[in-house]
Symmetry: C2
C-alpha cells in the first residue's frame, strides 16, 4: 500500500539509490545499460517520483499560485483556464485560490501560497487598494498582476490597453455616424475604468464630439447595475444615439432596460460593451464590443512570471496588449 520509493527500486535493482536517481534525472554519468534496466524496473514496479521530496532539495516546487476574484465571472474563468493550460505546458501546475473580491482574503491566500512555497504568483486583483498592503508579500515571491490598476506601482503586470480600447470603440461609433455617444458606467475608484474613460474623452476631443458621461457609483459592474442605471436613463429624454458601456455586463443590463422601455437595439440606439465575455457572443445578445485578448494575456503573464522566477533581480516588467474590435449586431450606421 505504501508507495514505491527510489530505495525500493534500488534494492530490487541491486544498485544504490543514487544510481536510480541518476537514471531518472537523465544524468549523463551513467551507462545506457543500467539506465534502461532501471527505467524498465521503475515502470514495472509502478514507481512515481515524489515531487514533494524533490521540491525539498531543489528548493522549488514548479507550482504557480493563482489568485482570482471569482470563477463565476466568465472573463476570469476563461483566463484561468488559459493560464492553467499554458503553465502546465511549461512544466508548472496551478494552485488556484478565489479571493471573492475581498482584500483581507487576498492577503490571506497570498500568504498561504507563499507558505506553500509556490515559485511565483499570478494575481488578478479584485479591486484597487491592494498593492500597498501587499508589498511586504510581493517582495517574497515573484508576482505578476493581470490588471492595469497599477500604473503607479512598482509591480510586474500585463493588461490590455484600456485607453486604446475605448478609443477604438469611440472611433468605430463615430465612423457609423454617431455624434452623441454616451459613456456609460464609469467607476471612479477603478484605474482600469479611469483609463477607459480617458480613452473615450480624448477621442471625443480629437473628433470634436461633446462628451456625455454617466458615471457609476457602484463598486462592481454587474448586469443589475446596468439595468438600474439604464432604467433611470431611459426614463428621461436624451439625444445620444449610441451608448458605450464600460463593461459588457453593464451593456447586457442596458439591453434589458431598453427592452423594457420599448427601445430597440440597434434600431433606436446603438450599444457597445467592453471585455468580450462569452455571454456577448450569444446570438440573443450579439453585442459589439472590445475584445481583451485572454489567451495572449495568459501566455504573457506566465512567460513574464517564469522570467521573474529565473531572474528575480530584474526590473519590473509591464506589458500592455492591444484590444480589438468585435463587430456584432448591436450597432447600426446612421450616416446619411
Amino acid at each position: 500500500m505504501a508507495p514505491v520509493t527510489l530505495k525500493d527500486v534500488a534494492k530490487v535493482a541491486g544498485v544504490s539509490y543514487a544510481t536510480v536517481s541518476r537514471a531518472l534525472s537523465g544524468s549523463p554519468e551513467i551507462s545506457e545499460d543500467t539506465r534502461c534496466r532501471i527505467l524498465k524496473l521503475c515502470k514495472e514496479m509502478g514507481y512515481t517520483p515524489n515531487s514533494i521530496a524533490r521540491s525539498m532539495v531543489k528548493r522549488r516546487t514548479d507550482i504557480i499560485g493563482l489568485i482570482v476574484p471569482s470563477l463565476n465571472n466568465p472573463f476570469m474563468s476563461e483566463l484561468t483556464g488559459q493560464l492553467e493550460i499554458y503553465a502546465r505546458n511549461r512544466g508548472y501546475n496551478l494552485m488556484v485560490c478565489c479571493s471573492s473580491y475581498d482584500h483581507d482574503l487576498e492577503k490571506e491566500v497570498f500568504a498561504l501560497l507563499v507558505g506553500r512555497q509556490v515559485d511565483g504568483i499570478i494575481m488578478i486583483p479584485g479591486g484597487n487598494e491592494i498593492y500597498e498592503s501587499l508589498s511586504s508579500l510581493t517582495s517574497q515571491v515573484p508576482t505578476v498582476f493581470i490588471s492595469d490598476n497599477l500604473q503607479d506601482y512598482p509591480e510586474n503586470y500585463v493588461c490590455v490597453d484600456n485607453f486604446r480600447g475605448t478609443q477604438i470603440a469611440t472611433e468605430y461609433l463615430y465612423s457609423l455616424g454617431h455624434r452623441d455617444i454616451l459613456y456609460f458606467g464609469a467607476r471612479q475608484k477603478s484605474k482600469t475604468h479611469k483609463h477607459r474613460l480617458e480613452g473615450y474623452l480624448a477621442t471625443c476631443e480629437k473628433l470634436g464630439l461633446e462628451p456625455h458621461v454617466l458615471p457609476s457609483s457602484y463598486s462592481r459592474s454587474s448586469r443589475e447595475v446596468g439595468y438600474t442605471m439604464a432604467g433611470d436613463y431611459f426614463s428621461k429624454k436624451n439625444r445620444e444615439t449610441a451608448i458605450l458601456c464600460a463593461a459588457d455586463m453593464l451593456a447586457i443590463g442596458v439591453m434589458q432596460a431598453a427592452f423594457d422601455a420599448g427601445i430597440r437595439i440597434p434600431r433606436d440606439i446603438s450599444l457597445m460593451g467592453f471585455d468580450n465575455i462569452s455571454f456577448s457572443a450569444l446570438p440573443q445578445i450579439d453585442l459589439t464590443t472590445i475584445n481583451q485578448p485572454t489567451q495572449q494575456m495568459a501566455i504573457a503573464a506566465v512567460d513574464m512570471l517564469l522570467d521573474r522566477i529565473k531572474n528575480p533581480e530584474a526590473e519590473h516588467a509591464r506589458l500592455i496588449l492591444p484590444p480589438s474590435l468585435v463587430e456584432r449586431k448591436s450597432c447600426r450606421s446612421i450616416a446619411k
Copy 2:
C-alpha cells in the same frame, strides 16, 4: 534573501528548534511563557512555515487535485469556484488541471497529480470511457467523481438525479397542458443523457403521453449543435408544443433557430433546458430549466473526499442530489 527557517528562529530565541515547532503547532507540552515569546519572535522575523517540509514528514500535503474538462463552461467553472472555497475552508488547497475533454490528458494529469502527492482527487470526467483506463490510478489515491456516468463502476461519486430532473421537467410541461413534448438532443453514448432520457420516457408512460425523441449524434451538447438540429427540425411540420432539451446550451441554440424561423418562444412553442447554467438566467434568454445544485455538489464532493482520505478502506460512496425546477419565461400554459 533566504527564507527564515525554524532553526533561525530557534537560534535567536536561544532554544532548540523542536521547541519552536511545538510553539507553532499548539502542542500542550510547552509553557505559555515561551510559546508567547517564540510566537512573537516568529512574527518579528517574518517566519513562514514551509509546508513542503511539513508535508514531507506528515506524509500528506493538504492538497486536493481537481481535474475538470474546461473552465470555459460556466457550469464547470462555477463548480470549480465552489470547490475551491469550500476546500480551503476545510484546510485544503486546490491544484487544478484542465483535461480539455481529452482522455489521454485526463490520465496524464491524474498521474501528474498523484506524483504531486495530492491527498485526493476530485474529477469531473469529460466523457464516458475513462473509468477502466483510470482504475490503476484511482486505486492509488482517494478519488471522487462528479458525474453519474458511472453507475456501474466501483467509484465514489456525487451527481444530480438526472432521471428525476427530466421527470420534473416533463411533469411541469404536462401541468402546463402540453401533451406532445419533444425530447431534444439525447446523446447515445453518455450515461448522464441516458438517465435523462429515461426520466422523460418513464414520465411519458406514466402520464399516457406518446414520447417524441430527437437524438443527437454529436459528441458534445453545444449551442451550435442545438442550432443545427433545431434548424432541421423547424424546417418540417411538427405537432409538438414543447421542447425539452437535454442541456441548456442546446436550448440556447434552439432559441436562435426558432428566432430565425420566425417561431416565437413561448408563444408558438415552449422550451426547457437542463443544467441551469448562468447564461440561462440572462433576461435575454430567460430559460426555464432544471437546476443542478452546484454548491451542494461541491460541498458533498469535498466532504466525501475528505472522508475517503480519512478512511481509505471504506466502501465506495455515492450521493445523488435532487434537481429542482427553475421557472422562467420560456414555457407557457396551453391548458384550456
